[in-house]
Symmetry: C3
Subunit: 139 residues, 3 copies
Amino acid sequence: MLRQANGTLDVRAPAQGLHPITAEVESWLDAQGFESGLLTLFCRHTSASLLIQENAAPAARRDLERYFERVAPEGAAYEHDDEGPDDMPAHLRSALTQTQLSIPLTGGRLTLGTWQGIYLFEHRRGTPSREIALHLIGE
Amino acid sequence: MLRQANGTLDVRAPAQGLHPITAEVESWLDAQGFESGLLTLFCRHTSASLLIQENAAPAARRDLERYFERVAPEGAAYEHDDEGPDDMPAHLRSALTQTQLSIPLTGGRLTLGTWQGIYLFEHRRGTPSREIALHLIGE
Amino acid sequence: MLRQANGTLDVRAPAQGLHPITAEVESWLDAQGFESGLLTLFCRHTSASLLIQENAAPAARRDLERYFERVAPEGAAYEHDDEGPDDMPAHLRSALTQTQLSIPLTGGRLTLGTWQGIYLFEHRRGTPSREIALHLIGE
């Protein structure tokens, strides 16, 4: 019998960059007791985003962070700059990555590949915790 | 009891750039009478896309538009240019943003954050209306 | 009566670039016998991704491939380079495109637009086959 569940994940990202949230997501998922279905994560912010990326090599994550710092840099001439130099780059980096991710579930587990981890990509400095809305449908 | 609904949103974007569609989406959603679930928007085009972004500061939206004009510019040497100078940049800007967005629903409302708006990102000039397929599942 | 189905698509992409998978996806879909619902594709890799793009003009796909080669180039100074020069660019190009796509289904068919095709975007050379997890919910 299909059913659904809703939840919220509060993530405190103490610095800019990729913060792993796979364990917190799986912990919430386990508590719902679903065997199969579809999990959706929705980031409720426009200056932080979601990304599925390499979970083993920290150097790959640092290269990713540096890449987005370079293609959407602070210090460019933005019209919108009253919230600080990290604000407009944060919107751009969010637009280039994901606000939402959906992941199928089989055998009670996410179908993530061996090298895939789920990350909150924090683009601002000194933010309070971020909210990720969760939705699960299946059985 | 879980159920689903399908719909289509026709959006007329009179110029290139970010066009707010949150109100139209919520209006369709209200008519379906769901309390919780998952709403999916799917843009049926490859030269327009979807984006969730800042809903308060028009300057932030103008910076976003200028950014994508700069990173996927008209006037670059594209092989595919028989449909006009705005065509290939439109495909590139679509590839860099979203064709599809899914948003959880709780308490009869989308779980959008305070500063989040849904936008059709029109990348071409003088297009007819665009079609966004809608799917809702929940109860 | 709502129900769901899970599956896996194995895709062999013999070279870097956009490989059409619409036919394979539709073939799996037809075998499930759903009339309406939501199909989700999830790429189980961090160096290959998914994209919905122009299905008619090969020149547009070649421009897309060249664009991503240019904005996330091989030969840049990456810290993570022990898996070959195509590895870090592959992660970057994946981050800029999609790991997951969901497409509504009506009348037994995907709501793809006339010019939309589904592609596996292979970013590495000489990879074995790639796995795409499939989830379908509807009736």
